[in-house]
């Protein structure tokens, strides 16, 4: 059962009056992998996540967790860090964490043990008895992360988990997430930061205007998108780039040329032609489109 998906969303739709927030969305999330849920603001990410964690119910379609339908018990296996997160302002950190743990059915003694462990891990032990208002924003963010993992969830859903963290803490959080991944937990997170997504995700799903745009493993997505970009550094042979049957566009940057091949054109053909033309080539590299490029093209299309 290793490969059976821990989360399966099938033909899910959600409407608010006239407005369709999520339209016939289907995808699967597998254990031991990081799933990036991407899309512009207002695409329907938060609505989808809310249906997964059981805050709202879909109008049609099904959400299955670990092979079962969504239920109150299932909620205890999910750790959810919402984008709009909050803490009780005038409450001690330890008391809040205890409360959130109890709401996930963790016994008091077990919760205390885990709170100490995580506070120590996040280097926040001395803040245990402080109030939220005494903490910096970054610290609050870490406390909120602790509250999502106190019940050792099998599925971690993080909405913009890195926003507001400094680079050092981003690295630290990525390290923590990597641990979850090795423990065969499932991690799903949404973000606008394509660089982070590209770095962390095994699988991605891009939605726009409440519909799925592309999805699959990061590799598949990039390959299906095709590689028709070449980074070129050379002297002589510029005339080859004028051949419209191979090259649609050549953009000259400071020290290299970005060559856009025509659809279906073989990069090797270009290389041969350049060599034949007597050009001296110091760099010839097929560039994969970045997730950012894909995102911008798909969303603005």
């Amino acid at each position: 059962m290793i490969d059976s998906p821990s989360l399966r969303v099938e033909h899910v739709s959600k409407r608010f009056g006239e407005f369709t927030a999520v339209d016939d969305l289907s995808f699967e999330v597998r254990p031991g992998r990081v799933f990036g849920f991407l899309g512009p603001n207002g695409a329907g990410k938060t609505t989808t996540i809310r249906m997964i964690v059981g805050i709202t119910a879909p109008d049609s379609g099904t959400v299955e967790l670990f092979g079962q339908h969504m239920s109150a018990e299932m909620q205890d296996r999910i750790g959810y860090l919402p984008e709009e997160r909050g803490l009780y302002k005038k409450m001690k950190i330890v008391d809040q964490l205890r409360y959130f743990a109890a709401l996930k059915n963790v016994s008091g003694a077990e919760a205390d043990k885990r709170i100490d462990f995580w506070l120590d891990r996040m280097k926040l032990s001395e803040w245990k008895s402080k109030k939220t208002t005494d903490l910096s924003k970054g610290m609050q963010q870490k406390i909120q992360f602790i509250s999502t993992v106190l019940h050792d969830p099998d599925l971690l859903i993080l909405d913009e988990p890195f926003s507001g963290l400094d680079p050092v803490n981003v690295e630290f959080m990525i390290e923590v997430l990597a641990e979850f991944k090795t423990k065969e937990k499932t991690i799903m997170f949404s973000t606008h930061q394509m660089e982070t997504a590209e770095r962390l995700c095994n699988d991605i799903l891009l939605i726009n205007k409440s519909k799925k745009v592309i999805g699959g493993s990061l590799r598949e997505v990039k390959e299906s998108y095709g590689t028709n970009l070449i980074a070129l550094r050379m002297t002589g042979g510029e005339s080859v780039l004028d051949d419209k049957s191979i090259v649609t566009k050549a953009i000259v940057h400071a020290d290299e040329i970005e060559v856009h091949l025509t659809d279906g054109a073989d990069p090797q053909l270009l290389l041969r032609r350049l060599v034949e033309s007597g050009s001296t080539i110091s760099k010839f590299e097929e560039i994969e489109p970045s997730l950012n490029d894909i995102f911008i093209e798909k969303v603005s299309a």
């Binding site: 009056g17 809310r50 964690v53 059981g54 805050i55 709202t56 109150a72 909620q75 205890d76 999910i78 959810y80 919402p82 709009e84 997160r85 909050g86 803490l87 009780y88 302002k89 409450m91 008391d95 409360y99 959130f100 109890a102 709401l103 996930k104 059915n105 509250s147």
Partner: protein, 450 residues
């Protein structure tokens, strides 16, 4: 169940472990006792004596006025009026009054002013001069025709605003003149007192079994009970609202909703805050009982206690039941308001309708105290929203038939079921709507959406 209890515990601790709760709990009994002590303290503060010149050509009135204003006379008078206004008076209170009035007795220093046949205008000018020099505070001119009904007693004083000394001085003059008139008419003071003695009016209410009960005690106790329920409902209803708004404002609601069902969260919140309210009410009632016990152990006050209405354990159970009914009715309304608005301040504006309802209930409790058996009393003690305040008062004033209490519990229980259902639906949707206050049609849509 564990989640529900976690919410209850969380809400309870959040209120009870706050300084505001401790202060509020201790402060109310403290303020109440201050109200009893402070007037006595102020009363006992000594002022400057008032120096008054009496111009009395007849020479008959002035000595009587002076005699009327000796310390003992004033004390006796104050005590009598206190007795008239209060149904009962304790030994310590008697002491206070006596002490206070003795001090007041020394407020007056009299000097006789010999008119020596001068004209009134001349005398006035002379006295005015003394007043402006600060040698004198005021003067009284006793007319020669003091016996006639249209005689005018001219009193001018720089302390005319001082109602304490002004009042007792006027009384003393009145008494003096009346005594003199009686003496002139050959009637002794004693005869007059016997003739004008008030009848002894023994007033007691009856309950349906014909047993006597004291209506004053019932009045006071009903008022206190009604007020206490009203205050507690208002405070804790608003505490619920604040708790709901905080979770909405800080966006904690989203985390909560991903952990437990909104209904569990809402009910847990209502119960937790309600228990905090009961704790406070329990402390208040407990301290009242302790104070009464202390009073009872003091011989001087013992006679006060039988005047208290009899409160049976059954009544206490009913009070408890109706407090809980009232709490759930108003708390769910406040929770509903909390999930619609975006800030506590905004919620404050919307708290007006439920507060108004409570006030109406509180005002109707006066109707109930006056006539617990009227049909109006019947209806207001059954009506939802009003009954939680009016029914306990009615039970105290006169125990209604059991079926009426049962009906009232039923009606209000149904109201709670409806309100909690309504509030939970609004809560579920409203808590995730950020940014702006919902309009009534929107709220209606949330309620209808499953």
């Amino acid at each position: 169940m564990r989640k529900f209890l976690a919410v209850v515990k969380h809400e309870y601790k959040k209120i009870v472990l706050k300084w505001a709760f401790l202060i509020g709990t201790l402060l109310l009994p403290l303020i109440a006792s201050l109200f009893a002590v402070v007037p006595a303290i102020i009363f006992s503060l000594k002022g400057e004596p008032t120096r008054i010149a009496i111009v009395d050509a007849s020479g008959k009135i002035a000595p009587r006025i002076e005699r009327n204003l000796t310390a003992e006379k004033i004390a006796a008078k104050a005590e009598k009026s206190a007795r008239d206004s209060m149904s009962n008076i304790s030994l310590t209170q008697q002491d206070q009054i006596k002490r206070g009035s003795e001090q007041m007795g020394s407020f007056f220093v009299f000097s006789n002013f010999d008119p020596a046949g001068r004209s009134l205008d001349d005398i006035r000018g002379d006295l005015m001069g003394k007043i402006s020099q600060g040698v004198l505070d005021g003067y009284l001119i006793v007319p020669e025709n003091y016996g006639s009904p249209d005689a005018i007693f001219e009193f001018r004083s720089r302390k005319a605003g001082d109602f304490v000394s002004g009042g007792s001085f006027r009384d003393a003059v009145n008494d003096a003149v009346r005594s003199q008139r009686l003496a002139d008419a050959n009637i002794s003071e004693k005869t007059l007192r016997e003739l004008s003695q008030n009848v002894n009016f023994d007033e007691k209410g009856l309950d349906e079994k014909g047993a006597e009960r004291d209506s004053d005690g019932v009045m006071a106790a009903s008022f206190v009970i009604g007020l206490m329920i009203y205050i507690t409902l208002a405070i804790y209803g608003q505490a619920i609202m604040a708790a709901v708004v905080e979770e909405k404002e800080t966006r904690i609601a989203e985390i909560l909703f991903s952990s437990a069902r909104p209904f569990t969260l809402m009910l847990g919140k209502l119960v937790g805050v309600g228990l905090a309210g009961l704790t406070q009410l329990g402390i208040w009632i407990g301290s009242v009982l302790v104070i009464l016990a202390v009073i009872a152990s003091q011989t001087g006050m013992a006679e006060l206690l039988p005047k208290m209405p009899v409160i049976t354990p059954l009544m206490v159970v009913f009070f408890f039941v109706f407090f809980i009914l009232g709490y759930f009715i108003y708390a769910s309304i406040f929770a509903l308001i909390g999930s619609i608005v975006t800030t506590v301040q905004e919620g404050g504006q919307f708290a007006f309708p439920p507060i108004m309802l409570m006030l109406i209930g509180f005002y109707f409790s006066f109707v109930v105290i006056r006539d617990p058996n009227s049909s109006l009393s019947f209806w207001v003690s059954i009506a939802p929203f009003l009954a939680p305040i009016t029914m306990p008062v009615r039970i105290l004033a006169e125990m209604p038939p059991f079926w009426q209490i049962a009906l009232s519990v039923l009606v209000n229980g149904a109201a709670i079921a409806g309100l909690v259902w309504l509030a939970a639906r609004v809560y579920r949707t409203g808590m995730l709507m950020y940014g702006k206050r919902a309009t009534i049609p929107e709220v209606w849509k949330w309620i209808r959406a499953s």
